[in-house]
């Protein structure tokens, strides 16, 4: 067993620098690497490019990095729910590249799996395809999209073991698995870190080979964006 455990979030994000490109898991505020984000805020590194489906809210998630003007560019599919984001985007302090959600996921997966480029129908005939190669297969039109390149992937899982194997819970899975191994260094924070051998080998969502560092995160807030409930009748 190759041990991927690191002692702290400090050690986990070791090597992050100004100007780097990061991938960050999560959909909305669900399944985001809370501890890593807080550490990046603390380190105050700047000029970051962040590949993340969303951009957090004003006072949580990637919103915390935005507040401190640490992000130069966001690559996302949807960036609502964030006033400071809007302000920086409209004032052109922040560069924003919006891409289809499935393309975002597949470009991560391509980076993970050593596929340099693939064709997808998403965005054909729209401004998303501007300047990109398009091609017809079996009478349907497709756009050529490329694998992402990133320095770090920050991933949040539910449980993990010291070998770096991880398991997700519910829809907190989302982009996290496809970002593992899609960057030069993959850092995973988990709610519970267990010894190697504790997880059933058939149930592991992402094998440890895609993970360089793993640690147990502290004090998960797991904020709910849209608490929607019904009354017991």
């Amino acid at each position: 067993m190759i041990n991927k455990k690191v002692k702290s979030v400090t050690e986990a994000v070791n090597g992050v620098k100004d100007g780097m490109t990061f991938m960050l898991g999560g959909f909305g505020l669900c399944g985001i690497p809370e501890n890593c984000i807080q550490q990046l805020v603390k380190l105050n590194i700047k000029d970051l490019t962040c590949i993340s489906n969303n951009a957090g809210v004003d006072d949580f998630g990637l919103g915390l990095l935005l507040q401190k003007h640490q992000i130069r560019k966001m690559i996302s599919s949807y960036v609502g729910e964030n006033d400071e984001f809007e302000r920086q985007m409209l004032s052109r302090e922040l560069d924003v590249e919006l891409i289809p959600q499935g393309t975002l996921a597949e470009r991560c997966r391509a980076a993970q799996a050593g596929i340099p480029a693939f064709y997808t129908p998403a965005g054909y005939g729209t401004e998303v395809a501007d300047g990109k190669e398009t091609r017809e297969f079996n009478g349907k039109h497709y756009v050529l999209e490329h694998a992402f390149k990133a320095d770090f992937a920050f991933v949040k899982a539910w449980k993990g073991d010291e070998a770096g194997n991880i398991i997700f819970k519910g829809t907190a899975r989302n982009f996290n698995p496809v970002m593992c191994g899609a960057a030069k260094t993959t850092v995973v924070e988990v709610e519970e870190l267990v010894p190697a051998g504790s997880l059933e080998p058939n149930q592991i969502h992402v094998p440890g080979i895609f993970v360089q560092r793993i640690f147990e995160g502290a004090k998960y807030e797991k904020r709910i964006e849209q608490r929607t409930v019904r009354k017991k009748s």
């Binding site: 960036v79 289809p100 975002l104 129908p121 965005g123 519910g170 907190a172 797991k222 929607t228």
Partner: protein, 218 residues
């Protein structure tokens, strides 16, 4: 005039057939789930990674880790599954989802759709809409017939940046049910109390009207 949002959802629910996997967009489409007949089997997919969504959770039972693409807390039904975003869009792109219902700002008579961007205004992003409309074989648009300025949203050509080309098959508005055909919007049904002329007046795109246009049953 015409249907309420709930009634639009109710009418669209009739398009949901036994054995369908359905992806519902945010807004009116979300309401469709409430009106699907309970004697047929349908599963709802949400592109953030869940199949087999159930109703909202009871108060106090919500789980931050179980949400839909609208970021709302949800529950799951027996037979549900969770998966990652790549597999989720594999379902969508690979045409395993049978029906996509989503909102729109504009639909053109050739089936083009615009629903993600208004130049000059804050752009929030397309989310999964471009993947959905470029992949689904069966797309129904749920929207009001006109925008807030009273202008038609059913056009000869979309004026806003496109989300997808030639993909919309059917449209249900507060006034009518329409099918996208090679010649334009074919008027299939009128909302109760709405005349063909009422619909003509707010349909900029080519409208095809047969001798008798039945009233919707909602």
């Amino acid at each position: 005039m015409g249907l309420s949002k709930e009634q639009i959802a109710q009418r669209i629910a009739k398009e949901v057939k036994d054995g369908y996997y359905v992806n519902l967009g945010i807004g009116i489409p979300t309401l469709v789930a409430n009106y699907v007949r309970d004697d047929i089997s349908v599963e709802f997919q949400s592109e953030n990674g869940v199949l087999g969504m159930g109703p909202f959770p009871f108060e106090g039972e919500e789980d931050a880790d179980i949400i839909n693409a609208g970021k709302q807390t949800i529950t799951t039904l027996p037979g549900a599954s969770f998966f990652d975003s790549a597999l989720s869009f594999g379902m969508i792109r690979g045409q395993h989802v049978d029906l996509t219902i989503l909102g729109a700002m504009e639909v053109a008579q050739n089936g083009d759709i615009a629903n993600w961007k208004i130049p000059g205004k804050m752009v929030k992003g397309m989310g999964g809409a471009m993947d959905l409309v470029s992949s689904a074989e069966n797309i129904i648009v749920a929207m009001m017939h006109t925008n807030r300025a009273g202008e038609s949203k059913l056009l000869r050509e979309c004026s806003l940046p496109l989300t997808g080309v030639g993909c919309v098959k059917k449209i249900v508005t507060n006034l009518a049910v329409l099918e996208v055909t090679r010649e334009g919007f074919l008027l299939l049904e009128r909302a109760p109390g709405v005349s063909v002329d009422d619909i003509k007046a707010v349909t900029e795109g080519n409208l095809l009207v047969s001798d008798e246009v039945p009233e919707m049953q909602v």
